[in-house]
Symmetry: C2
Subunit: 364 residues, 2 copies
């Protein structure tokens, strides 16, 4: 989403959808879905709750210390299927984007439902490949698709809803980070964004690097197991998945938790392929990491005394955990210490499908 | 869905999506989503269970005698917004189609999530009207939309998921009808189908009739309260909502419950406007009632000894309940006694968005 506050001076109704953007659309729904007079006391986090608006999942209190965690994500071929991604991978992605949101809340996925749409002139083989990709993702996350709906649409549309459960005391959110916490991420960042840039700008790279990067962009994995393990250990103060860029996610935690964050460029983990290609092709690393996303890694805040436990949990799953900064500074402020020593603000921007700009070029 | 079994002789992969139709697509997903090796013992009804495939909702056992009921329905403007329906009504419908499936299972709706897509060149006023329609439907059913996702799509896409809860002993399904039960429906049938025909074929009707019928097609109401009341009374043996035509729903119950059904044409309740217009314009009533749908009424089977209780429950809510036939005959066979006394089979056909035919002309 982009901060398009200058638009606020015009009457929203007179504007095109691309002018109000994702943020404007969300604001319209948020306003309308507030102030219902019926009992909503079981809605712990939702679009209408002060803390819920910062989360990717809604949370319903089922009583007995059990929370229902629900998320929905729609992907369309035109906007979410980068050039080179096949139908099998697109089906897999439809499951991953939904399950990843559960992972970030510490929830154990219970099931998914999928509403799908296909253009009628397309080959039915496409349906088979998408279904196969979805099924393989189900196997990988050990969560079944239990229902769905089938429609005729102009573009391939895969709208999923993932439902999970989490014990009340294990729920992870964006709004409980505290000053003094460490900021850490799983895995490495930037590979999918870099490969997208390479595809769009037709950079030439080695076959080996191409394979490594393509896998990250085309078959991302949700960190569902390690998310659940970390939630069970009750050692994190906040958590999010990095699908819209590290910068965007840092800002969301800073706003939700009313804290400041300082990260250090040199500490941000990247793959060897990423480092090599960026150096060779003179590509700036930081914009890819901060403002593009598609990483599906977990970003979290950890009280320093729990860092070793968190690292152990991640390493048991074979996943590196890297401290990239700490919670400090003015509430809502996100800063980055560059490699040259300068400290700069991280822009509050991410990907908005509706807003076209050079910096906003992404499909995914 | 249409029965296009003649297609089975060709290799599915060589066919266009419109050739395999809705049924073919569902079969592909059903096959792929079966045989997972992980624990799925909590999935009571789902696309992969023998009885679940007949239902519009999946059912998850949460233990403690509580079932989670989940349904998803996607509507697109091109296929589901009939000429004359406004954006507000389209938003309302997106909630109703989902909530209606919960009503048929006797579940109390807990919340909804909505993944929506809009073409970027459209006026943002459309978003406001759709959101307002959704919000009014939420008020009417007393269920909140708690989350969602926003996307850029080629057509307006509203993909909803409704989640409800039902005590284990109150769940209504299609698979427990028994020989000797009565078959009954709430309200009147055929109005939405008739109005659709009038719109498409440009019949002229009185303003009064137009208003009455338009309301039924453009602002249908899910029978959520009476569905819950009937479920709580534990007097029904099966239940379904009539969204794809009475004929289609009768067949689904007959197949799921392995029973036969005989209904009588003269007993099927229709509105005064319906009777009047069909007579004046010489429109055949039965095809509209059996093979089009969009009624959003409940179809149910009731042991004769519980009929009076069921009628009382419905009348408390101001809703007529009419017995239209009984459970008898060969398993899977659905017959109708016409007004002329002849008994004919009810065709196993309903609406398939992917299959073009004269009899299949519907938008909704």
């Amino acid at each position: 989403m982009n901060d398009n506050s200058e638009n606020k001076h015009r009457e929203v109704s007179d504007m095109k959808i691309k002018e109000i953007g994702e943020k404007g659309i969300i604001e319209i729904f948020q306003t309308r879905f507030q102030g219902f007079s019926f009992d909503m006391s079981n809605v712990l986090l939702g679009i209408q709750t002060a803390t819920g608006i910062h989360e990717d999942c809604a949370v319903i209190d089922l009583r007995n210390d059990l929370f229902l965690v629900i998320t929905t994500d729609l992907i369309g071929a035109r906007t979410h299927k980068p050039p080179g991604m096949n139908d099998y991978q697109f089906g897999k992605k439809a499951i991953t984007v939904n399950v990843s949101d559960l992972a970030a809340m510490g929830a154990r996925p219970t099931c998914l439902v999928m509403s799908v749409g296909f253009p009628e002139e397309f080959d039915s083989r496409i349906v088979e490949e998408i279904a196969e990709g979805m099924a393989d993702a189900c196997r990988s996350y050990q969560v079944p698709v239990v229902g769905g709906d089938v429609n005729s649409t102009d573009d391939i549309i895969l709208a999923g809803t993932a439902i999970g459960l989490v014990p009340a005391d294990q729920l992870l959110t964006r709004h409980s980070a505290r000053t003094g916490d460490l900021v850490a991420v799983t895995g490495t960042l930037g590979d999918p964004a870099l490969y997208l840039k390479i595809l769009l700008e037709k950079h030439s790279i080695s076959n080996e690097n191409r394979q490594a990067l393509a896998k990250r962009l085309f078959e991302p994995e949700a960190r569902i197991k390690v998310g659940k393990d970390l939630a069970e250990a009750k050692i994190l103060t906040s958590c999010a998945d990095i699908t819209d860029g590290l910068g965007w996610e840092l800002h969301k935690i800073a706003v939700a938790s009313k804290i400041g964050i300082l990260v250090e460029e040199e500490k941000i983990p990247t793959s060897d392929a990423f480092k090599q290609i960026c150096k060779l092709q003179r590509i700036q690393q930081l914009p890819l990491i901060l403002y593009v996303g598609e990483d599906f890694e977990l970003l979290m805040t950890i009280p320093p005394e729990h860092l070793e436990d968190a690292k152990k949990i991640c390493s048991t799953r074979g996943i590196p955990l890297t401290v990239i900064g700490s919670v400090k500074g003015e509430p809502g402020e996100v800063l980055i210490k560059k490699i040259d020593g300068n400290i700069e603000p991280v822009k509050k921007k991410g990907y908005d499908q509706f807003v076209e700009s050079k910096e906003n070029k992404k499909q995914g």
